[in-house]
Amino acid sequence: MRHLLATLLSCVALASCGVRQAPNEIVVQRFFGTCKAEYGNRTDVENAEGECGIMTTLINRFSAENPDVKVRVSPVAWPGYNQLAAQLASGDPPDLVTMHLSAISDYQSRKLLEPLDKDLRAVGVDPNGFTAASLVSVSKQGQIYGLPIDNWAPLWHINMNYFRQAGLVKDGKPILPRSPEELLAHARQFKQATGKPYFVQALANERAAYTRNLYTLLMQQSVDFFADPQQVKLQSPETKQVVAMFRQLYVEDLTTKNQDYAAATNGFINGAGGVYLVGTWMIGDFDAESRKAGRPLTNGYAVMPWPQLYARDATFIDGHAWVMPVRDRTPRQRDAVFRLLKFLADHDFEWSRTGHLPAYKAVIESERFNALPHRSEIAKIATTGMPLPSAVQRQFPVQDIIGEEMAAAITGHKTVDAALADAEHRVNDLLFHLL
């Protein structure tokens, strides 16, 4: 019987232990893709391109410079929160995780993240050096819950060759609309001149992009749709006007249709339309494309923030941060985590080469940042960018619900009124039932 019990206990013990961490090993879980084939062990951060390349080489270099620390990187499919929730629920979270600034509230409110202030200051990272948008997003109840990586915003990536053909260039700059009516007029003019749709959009299998555009255009109208963080108001005339404008663009074939994110990105590179509505992270790739010969974007790429269509110059922004889930760590692991955070903070300029806006005032004001291509055009987002109120919880599912209902309205599966009523009801039901 004792043998049986011992065997059973051994089996249970064996089953319960996963891959155990060494005392000096830390697990870093991140999105930004995988690129092991190209950047596997490379440490030349300066020569790396794109989010994945730069992040991989940064962590590789940290590992090379800190041989006493073992960093195990666990890339996750974007955004990776389902996996993180399961890890947290099972008590086995990683040591550091990439998280959107808009998602921090959810985890912090359930006491799943460690405050970082004291230890960050101890390694020489002063939160006062964060940009205002980053600082407000990682600050919760007077404490810092993340090391900001960047801010990003939806942008207008423009094919200047087509814009020139459509007569929408003046003094080498794209002529952008200043009202919804002008936007429709430009789009029609563009289509007539080039035969191409004005917008390239990821409209299939995509939700977030719809919502970000809506947030931006509501912010430009100073509509406080989250005046109460537990109740959204979407059935306003301003919201209906924005959705109706996107519907009109769709009906008149002034936008690409039925493309998912990958198809829309490839489409823009291959000259499918004039303006690709996507975030800061594509600047580096499109700029590189514009330097190749014989391509639709050759010497013809510009990028701008969302043009001001209403009274206020504003753009919805979000960003990324490193957060540290609550768990037991050895002193060496804790030390390794903060050494890595310090290293990443010191190299934020390298990260800003992705196209994202730096999270540090010193970098955003630096000459070398402003010397990067197209940065002067988008630098104003640092002041015009607006996140959702940080008290709004579940911003990711809220974004999904609004995007799904907007898609239904824009593609004609529902009326605009019905879609906005459903979106409002679904979001408020979600927020009402938060624990």
Binding site: N82, L88, A89, A204, A407, A408, H413, R426, D429, L435
Partner: protein, 309 residues
Amino acid sequence: MSAAAGQLSDLGRARAQPARAGAQQSRWSHLLYVAPFLFLYVTLLVYPLFAGFWLSLHKADFFGGSRFVGFENFVRLSNDKVFIGAVGNTFYFILLTVPALAIIGLGLALALNRTTPTAAFLRGVFFSSSVLSVTIVTLLWKVVFAPDGGFLANLFEAFGKQPVAFLSNADLALPAIAITTIWWCIGLPMMLFLAALQQVPRELYEAAALDNAGRWKTLWSVTLPSIRRTFALVIIIEVVLQFQLFGQAYLMTQGGPNNASRPLVLFIFEVGFTRWDVGYAVAAGQILFGLIAIAAMAQYFVARRKEAF
């Protein structure tokens, strides 16, 4: 007498002498034989079943927070348009896939139930899709359905027709997922039918041949009645499997457009993992469990009644 037969004989004698001293102790020790199974069955199946129902009566998240709310989650579900749509989608998907899987599976099995090398090769070919992961399968079929340069789009254009955006069309998204699923899952019913066909006694076919029965007559009067148990099994297995549609819808359409392809499991996943409304998700899971149980039992009883006749 073999050892096993001897043991059985001993057991019989033990049953025949219930009043013998020590019999009580002996019966309890027999429990040890089934104890490992019972332990696993209770901890991995029975306990989670009741724990799940108990959780569905709570507002809860993943991280320990919980509040008893009675049947509120079920009332919410009955008023949730997205949930009701997901239930409808799930039944529609079963209707699209299960008969097709059974009929195509049977057809392939009948065609490939021979000993030639070509048949053996084709059996492997038709089963090969089943070993692929859902990621690969959906990636492949997204390329087939893509309206810009996809396989079907090129085919449409070759015939001078406008390409159809299958996955962005509310009427076509779920049928497109059903086609993908049939392609992916056809291997199992085919193999089950093949196994059943090889159990049909040769004498029955010889007798049918002597009676000058044609191919169709033999199929209707000999083959199909002989494999009716397997037919019921395939239907039950496929109903249970297709009720659990998730990966294909998640990767191909995310449940869209306009909730047209969101199945129940995707609804449960979104509510549980993205919104952390775990009690609500588990309540939906209870309903899914009930639906699967009803469907499987209905199939089972219908099959048994037919057998009785």
